[in-house]
Each structure stands twice: as structure tokens, then as C-alpha cells.
């Protein structure tokens, strides 16, 4: 008779964060908390102009300030002068020309942040201001001279699919505008670089999403072999896409190498708005053709993504946008033109949802228009067109992923609506909140829908593999990987996997650094699938070796063994032994690389199996609106999300609720306002983020349908929650006031004027 087992935090349980206690105590070391003996502070001088020629840079006065140890400009970059994720087009420091407001021009290292500020003020840069290319439409074609040697068009992609001559009995059309959203992670950019004593290498603690990509780009710019740049993940205060590109990595390491002293750089909030890429603002035109019953027969569309001054991931964002034109609906024919362009606006790149947010805002607006034209409600039109596994996308790619779109819509619809707003509602529950400006009797309620499809993992032939090493010794598992933990909880999940596969209780994560192969980026909802697959694979290899070891000792064929709870059991005999006992005195280590299936590039007609897999979600929003004042309160979000297998219910709910809040932000408040290339609101006073009072009631259902392609049966869950909630909220506002609002975020003037 076996004793009652203590609960082990295996897959499927709400295992708690291993870093939770440290984080609630303030003990967890974020990168910005690091301190080194003899440390200097670094700071960056940035361009005040969106487009200007640099006539001269005079750093002599800065050098003379007591406490200043180093001033560097483009002249001091020892290697490649540029970096970039897809194309290396962004200068480490601007040399001849600045192309956006806030572009780095120089950096200093000094004894105190205040000394740094004085040193930056003492650097004299003479600029000749140039005409600003701020209209993305002017970047297409020859209307504006190239602002970069690589030209103003970053990428163009066309999709032509099916019988494009067909026309619908119903045709609906819309022009949609999506504003520039900021990731607004709370822990601003930060790094600490410690030079090697011989000056030939550097150790860099950095808050990043992808250690090995940073290492590669830094090595080129610093003219050092990659192994001489040892990156360690410093504590990361959120990411959401904004830490995929290089920000201060090269600057910090360069200052450390030049001064032979540790250097720490940390952006303030205003600098952070200039220091990382944002979500692409976009304009999307769509024309849907349907039968008179409302079945889609063709979609025409045109996308323009404003990538700002440098390419970053614009080319991939564009592909995500155009390939998700149809949304989670069947569509036999399409003609789509997409452009990602270069302007003198702030550079844009990765943010949670990555191009699909923009496509979804447009296709969901179209579905509501189609519903009206076909005489259907928003639910029926979506059910009528709902995509299923086996359908063909407008890229010609078959949807092999589990695609429970109709079920998601039905389950969301089953969630009870919230009660009506009470006649004597507290003012904090009214749109506008404690401003006490809205009057209860003016308020109108609206309901709106949004449903989305999101590709997960990287696309277009890129092999974004992940590596993990598992070591079992004396009953304890240690896991090593370079997977960036940015708050999402991979450090919780990885030990859960080890406990499930190996039957251990004691499983810990080693330091996350570049002393193992790449894990790829913590983005594209990919780490549970990719790094989860790598940890699972490494643990399985260790299990095989453990079975061989125990089999040899006890003369049992290893193939007969299985792990049952915390024991090795002979499935056809009576032998049982705890894993802890079986692994005493031995150490087994195995490394595994997980690769997803190969994908293809798109051809000139946008055809090809370019994506790995897809995840789906449905959202229903209920809002209260004051139509006279243009104020909105999001009351409730109901959602059903396609998650594959649930691996940690608590972590999953956190991703769902957090993503919804970010989507709410894009719907009603978050926008970086850029006027002729100038950012007007780079602060948390002027860039509004959802607070506790803005948080709606979230009622979430997780739709569990095992995904056979995924190593753990689980789909990535990070991005879907923030995608279709935005159009759902905007649809609810339209429903409340009976007005077509074609843009997000919805501003008061969009409602009341």
C-alpha cells in the first residue's frame, strides 16, 4: 500500500512562481537593482529633431566636467556601425544624419546620474534640420527622397488567392486606423556591463527577450568574438515586445570597455519612450464580398504599416498583418496589398500581437458591417463564417492546428451578461470615474464582439529553435536554458515539466545566460511550445538514461520502465523504486534542441505555408458610454480562448487578464501622439495606462483541445488575449452610440463630436 503522496507541482497544477517570494519582498534583483564596486553610470544623448544632418559634434566641454570618465560617439564604435534584427540598418550612434526624434548621438559615463546629465548638456551638436517624412503614404513610391540608403519602402507584399474575379452580392468597405501603442513595461531598459580585466571581453547583465540575438549584434558592433560577450539575464520588469531590439546594450558595453570599469545604464520613463520600438500605427482598408446570406466570398485589402526610421521587425509585422486579413473565417479569394514603410517617425517593431492586432481591428469592424448588410447579428455572422481545422488560408496554407472557432464564440456567448448599471451607481463605476463628470441618466450601454486568429512561433522559413539542458543528480533536477523570463512564468513551467517527466519534486532553474545554445526570443507566444519542448526533450533523454542505469543494475529491460508519480516502475513486473533513490550518487545530463516544423517563404502572390501554428480566441465586451462627454467605462469582458492543454491554470489566467488590459488600453486610452515626427506625450502622465479602476470584470473560459503538433499539447497563450478584445470594445462603443468609429484608440472627440 502506498502512502499518501505529497503534492508535486507537475503539469496541470497551479504551481507557484519560484521567484514569487523574492519579488513580494523587494529582494528580486531586477537589472536596475544591480550594483558593482567602482561602478559608473552611463547616459545617452539623443537627437531633438526627427530628421537632421549632423554638421558637427563637440564633446570637449563634456570631457572637462569633473566625474566624467568617457564620452563616445559613432567615431568610437570599433566594429559594425549599425545593428538590427532583420536588417542591420540602425546606427549605434547617428553619424551624419538623425532620422527620428530621440535617436542616440553620443553616450557618456560618469560618477553620478546628475554628472551624466550635465555632461550630455555640455555636448554641442550642430544640426541642419531636414524636411520630415511623417506621412507613411508619401514613403510609398517616389514622392519623398530616400531618408535612408535602404530606401523608404521596407517591404511590400501582395496576396492573390482564389478566383479574384468573383464579386459579392453584399459588399462592405471600411477604412481603419490603429494608433501607436507603447509596451510600457514597468522596468525601463537597463544593463550593467563589467569589462574583463584584459579588456578583451565583457560580461553584460541585461533585461532582454533574446540573449543570443543581443550577443550576435553586440559582437558585430564591438568587433569582438561572440564568446567574449557573456550575457546574463538580469531581472526583467516586463517586455511585451519592446526588448527584442537592441537599445542600450552596445552603448553600455562600449563605455565599460573604454573605461575599464563597470558601467550601468538605465533609462528613465521619458527616455524609455524614445529607447524602444512601439506597436506600428497602421491604416487598413478592407472590402468584404459576401453572398446575400453573409458568407464571405472574397476580401480585398490594403495595409500600410508605419515602421518609423529603422526597419526593426517591420517586414515580419507586415507579413503577419496581411496573412491574417481574413481573421478566423473561411475566405476562398483575396487580393491584398501590404506596405511597411520607413518614415521619420519613431521606429516601430514588436509588440504583443505583432501585426495581427492591426489586421484584427479591421476584419472585426468588417464583420459587424457584414452582419448589418446581411441582416444578421454579430454572433451569427461569425458562426456562419467560422474557420475550422482543414480550411485553407488565403496564403494557400492549410490550417492544421486545432481551430475551435465556433465553439469559442458559443462558449463566450454562454457567459452571463453583467447586471445593468444601477440607477444609483457609485460615481467610480461611471465612465470618467472619480472626475464625477458623467451623469447616470446620460449613459448608454453597448455590446461588441471580436474574434481572432494568431500565428504562433516565427514564420517564413525561420528556424527559431530552443535549447535546454537537464541534469539529474541525487534526486534533484537542474534545468539550464537561455529562455528569457520576462514575467510570463517560464521559470514556473520548466520545473513543472521536469517533475512530470522525471518524477522528481526538487527541480530548479539555473542562471539564464549565454552559456548554452539559443532559446530564441520570448515572443510570438512561442516559449511554452519551443523552450517547453526543449526542456521536455532534455528531461526525456535523461529519463531514458536513468532507465538504462537502473535496468542494468536490476537486470530489467529499460523499455519496461515507466515513471509513475515519483517512482520508476516495471510495467510488467513488481519492481518499484523512487526516482530520488534511483538517482543517488549519479549525475545524468542531456541537452536537447527543439525545432518546430519547417515553414516556407511567401511567393510573389503571397502563397506559401509560412506559419507554424495558430491559436484562436473570442471576446465579448460590454461598455458604458457617456455620448455627450465621450467617456467610456469597460464593464465586462467575456472570453473563451483556445489554449490546447492547460499546463498551469493560474499562470494562464494571469496571461489572459493581463492581455485583456493591454487590449483595453489600445481600445480607449493608449496612444503615443506623434506630430510631424515629434513625440508629444512621452510620460506616464500623458500616456495613459489602464489602472485598477479601469480594469473590467473578466470572465474567462479556457477551451481545452489538445494540440497534437505541440510538444506538450499546449498552444502559446500570451498574445491572443490582447488581440480581439480591442475591436470588441470599439464595437461595443459603436453599439452604444450608433456611430461608426473607424479608429483605435477611441478618443472622447471620436464619440462626442
Amino acid at each position: 500500500m502506498s502512502a499518501v503522496k505529497t503534492k508535486r507541482d507537475t503539469l496541470g497544477t497551479s504551481s507557484l512562481r519560484p521567484d514569487g517570494a523574492a519579488k513580494v519582498k523587494g529582494d528580486f534583483a531586477f537589472t536596475s537593482d544591480l550594483h558593482a564596486e567602482n561602478m559608473l553610470w552611463g547616459a545617452t544623448l539623443r537627437s531633438p529633431h526627427p530628421h537632421a544632418r549632423i554638421i558637427s559634434i563637440d564633446t570637449s566641454a563634456a570631457w572637462k566636467i569633473a566625474g566624467v570618465e568617457c564620452v563616445v560617439t559613432a567615431e568610437d564604435v570599433p566594429g559594425q556601425l549599425t545593428y538590427g534584427l532583420i536588417s542591420s540598418d540602425q546606427p549605434v550612434f547617428a553619424k551624419d544624419v538623425v532620422r527620428y526624434m530621440g535617436e542616440p548621438v553620443a553616450a557618456v559615463a560618469a560618477d553620478h546620474p546628475e554628472t551624466c546629465r550635465r555632461a550630455l548638456a555640455a555636448i554641442k551638436v550642430e544640426y541642419e534640420v531636414l524636411p520630415v517624412l511623417f506621412d507613411p503614404e508619401l514613403a510609398i513610391g517616389d514622392a519623398f527622397q530616400p531618408i535612408h540608403p535602404d530606401g523608404n519602402l521596407v517591404r511590400q507584399q501582395r496576396i492573390v488567392h482564389g478566383d479574384t474575379s468573383v464579386d459579392g452580392e453584399i459588399i462592405v468597405e471600411g477604412h481603419y486606423v490603429i494608433g501607436m501603442q507603447d509596451q510600457a513595461f514597468l522596468g525601463t531598459e537597463s544593463a550593467m556591463a563589467i569589462p574583463d580585466p584584459d579588456g578583451q571581453g565583457v560580461e553584460v547583465f541585461v533585461a532582454t527577450q533574446w540573449l543570443h540575438e543581443d550577443q550576435k549584434q553586440m559582437a558585430a558592433c564591438l568587433n569582438l568574438p561572440p564568446e567574449k560577450i557573456r550575457l546574463v539575464l538580469g531581472g526583467v520588469g516586463g517586455a511585451f515586445g519592446a526588448r527584442e531590439d537592441i537599445s542600450l546594450q552596445v552603448h553600455t558595453a562600449l563605455l565599460a570597455l573604454r573605461t575599464s570599469r563597470p558601467v550601468k545604464m538605465q533609462y528613465g520613463r521619458e527616455e524609455s519612450f524614445f529607447g524602444h520600438v512601439h506597436r506600428h500605427p497602421a491604416t487598413v482598408w478592407m472590402r468584404h464580398h459576401a453572398t446575400k446570406e453573409g458568407k464571405i466570398v472574397k476580401i480585398e485589402a490594403r495595409f500600410v504599416f508605419d515602421g518609423g526610421a529603422y526597419a526593426s521587425t517591420s517586414a515580419a509585422v507586415l507579413i503577419n498583418g496581411v496573412t491574417h486579413t481574413q481573421g478566423p473565417y473561411k475566405c476562398p479569394a483575396a487580393v491584398v496589398d501590404g506596405y511597411a514603410v520607413r518614415t521619420n517617425n519613431p521606429p516601430c517593431g514588436a509588440m504583443r500581437g505583432f501585426g495581427v492586432v492591426q489586421a484584427c481591428f479591421a476584419h472585426e469592424g468588417q464583420m459587424d458591417k457584414l452582419a448589418v448588410a446581411a441582416g444578421l447579428d454579430p454572433i451569427s455572422i461569425r458562426l456562419l463564417n467560422a474557420m475550422e481545422t482543414g480550411d485553407t488560408l488565403i496564403t494557400g496554407q492549410p490550417v492544421e492546428s486545432v481551430a475551435p472557432v465556433a465553439r469559442l464564440i458559443r462558449e463566450t456567448n454562454e457567459i452571463p451578461l453583467p447586471p445593468d448599471l444601477a440607477l444609483d451607481a457609485n460615481e467610480l463605476d461611471l465612465p470618467g470615474g472619480s472626475g464625477i463628470t458623467a451623469e447616470r441618466k446620460h449613459i448608454k450601454r453597448g455590446i461588441g464582439w471580436g474574434v481572432s486568429i494568431k500565428n504562433i512561433m516565427y514564420s517564413e522559413g525561420f528556424d527559431d529553435y530552443s535549447t535546454a539542458k537537464c541534469t539529474l543528480a541525487d534526486g534533484k533536477v537542474t534545468l539550464k536554458f537561455a529562455t528569457s523570463e520576462v514575467g510570463q512564468g517560464f521559470v514556473t513551467l520548466a520545473p513543472q515539466i521536469a517533475r512530470s517527466v522525471l518524477g522528481v519534486t526538487d527541480a530548479v532553474c539555473d542562471t539564464i545566460d549565454t552559456q548554452i545554445g539559443s532559446a530564441g526570443s520570448t515572443s510570438a507566444s512561442r516559449q511554452t511550445w519551443m523552450s517547453g519542448g526543449a526542456v521536455d526533450g532534455a528531461c526525456r533523454l535523461v529519463r531514458e538514461r536513468l532507465f538504462e542505469h537502473i535496468g542494468a543494475l536490476h537486470n530489467i529491460e529499460p523499455i519496461r520502465f515507466a515513471i509513475e508519480d515519483d517512482e520508476i516502475v516495471d510495467t510488467v513486473g513488481t519492481f518499484r523504486m523512487s526516482v530520488v533513490e534511483a538517482s543517488q550518487g549519479i549525475s545524468i545530463s542531456e541537452t536537447f534542441e527543439h525545432h518546430h516544423r519547417a515553414t516556407e517563404e511567401l511567393d510573389e502572390n503571397g502563397q506559401g505555408n509560412c506559419h507554424v501554428a495558430f491559436a484562436f480566441v473570442a471576446h465579448r465586451a460590454v461598455v458604458d458610454v457617456d455620448p455627450d462627454l465621450g467617456l467610456v467605462k469597460v464593464v465586462q469582458i467575456a472570453t473563451a480562448q483556445d489554449v490546447g492543454q492547460v499546463l498551469n491554470p493560474l499562470s494562464l489566467l494571469g496571461q489572459v487578464e493581463g492581455g485583456i488590459a493591454q487590449g483595453l488600453g489600445l481600445a480607449v486610452m493608449e496612444e503615443i501622439i506623434v506630430q510631424e515626427g515629434r513625440v508629444r506625450n512621452p510620460s506616464f502622465t500623458d500616456y495613459l495606462l489602464p489602472t485598477a479602476l479601469d480594469a473590467p470584470v473578466v470572465v474567462a473560459r479556457m477551451v481545452e483541445e489538445y494540440e497534437p503538433q505541440a510538444p506538450l499539447g499546449a498552444k502559446g497563450v500570451g498574445e491572443p488575449p490582447c488581440i480581439s478584445v480591442t475591436p470588441a470594445i470599439v464595437a461595443a462603443i459603436r453599439d452604444a452610440i450608433g456611430k461608426d468609429i473607424p479608429r483605435c484608440p477611441v478618443r472622447p472627440q471620436d464619440i462626442c463630436l
Binding site: G20, G26, D33, T115, G187, G238, E657, T685, V698
Partner: protein, 162 residues
């Protein structure tokens, strides 16, 4: 950047001498960079996000907005002072078990804000909780699990009392 003056801050019951500091330094900077107390976080420098919440004479304030030198006569309490005995407070424990922590950058400030709320109001309404925490921005969680953590503490404290 320094003067030869020094001043004394009383933090978590202990007096700390701050010497050779620039007089313009914020309480947040001095706590983090001079006194080795990095638990309070800086994320906006404008008093908008609450990550740097500490108590000055019992009032919850954004330490980024307080000049350190102006707090010489005050009792300052930081997140580090909550765990003098090494164990988690009920609020900290609930943040961990209810999933209120993701990246954790806002967490110390929120823990301070929740303790402050519950010290003043042992059974806050849902709206009172939301209002009390609306000065603390969390970008990861959407606040749902933070509310759950508060609810749990309130329920447990009530259970203990009854």
C-alpha cells in the same frame, strides 16, 4: 556632485547617515543607491505608477517625488521593513499564492499600498480597493489576481477575528 554635509534618515527603525550626497536626490534614489535598499522601484519619476511607494510618517507616498533631505525628521518605512522576522506578511503571501505577481516590478509598491489600505480599512468594498490601488500601475496582470489577493487577505483576517 557632493557637499561635505550629511543628514540622517530613519528607515525601518534604523538611522542611516547619508553623506556626500547631492541635495537634489530623491528619497527613492537615496534608498536605492546610497542605503542599499533597492526594494522600492522607479518606473515613472512622476508619481504616476506607485512602484516606489513607501510610508513617510505613516502616509503612503511616491518616494520619487520626495526629496530625501526633506524626510530627515520622519519615520520612513520601505518594503524591506515588512519582513524583519524573515517571514512573508499575509499580503505578500497572498500575492504569491493568488498569482498577483508576474514580472514583479510593481509588486513591492503594490504590497505597500495594500498593507496601507487594509490598515486603514479592514473590510474595503470592491470600489474602495480599486480606488486605493489606482495609483499603482501593473502592466502584466490586468489587476484581476491582485484583487483576488486583497480579497483573500480580507477574508483570512476576518476569519481570524471571528
Amino acid at each position: 556632485m557632493s557637499s561635505n554635509e550629511f543628514y540622517t534618515l530613519k528607515v525601518n527603525g534604523t538611522e542611516h547617515q547619508v553623506s556626500d550626497a547631492w541635495i537634489g536626490e530623491s528619497l527613492l534614489y537615496v534608498l536605492r543607491e546610497r542605503l542599499g535598499l533597492p526594494g522600492s522601484k522607479g518606473a515613472c519619476e512622476q508619481g504616476e505608477c506607485g512602484s516606489c511607494t513607501v510610508y513617510v510618517d505613516g502616509a503612503a507616498v511616491c518616494s520619487c517625488l520626495v526629496m530625501a533631505a526633506s524626510a530627515v525628521e520622519s519615520e520612513i518605512a520601505t518594503v524591506e521593513g515588512l519582513n524583519a522576522d524573515g517571514t512573508l506578511t499575509d499580503v505578500q503571501e497572498a500575492f504569491v499564492t493568488e498569482g498577483a505577481v508576474q514580472c514583479g516590478f510593481c509588486t513591492p509598491g503594490l504590497v505597500m499600498a495594500v498593507h496601507h489600505l487594509l490598515d486603514e480599512n479592514d473590510s474595503p468594498s470592491e470600489l474602495e480597493v480599486k480606488e486605493a490601488l489606482s495609483g499603482n500601475i501593473c502592466r502584466c496582470t490586468g489587476y484581476g489576481r491582485i484583487f483576488a489577493a486583497v480579497d483573500k487577505v480580507v477574508a483570512v483576517r476576518k476569519g481570524v477575528r471571528s
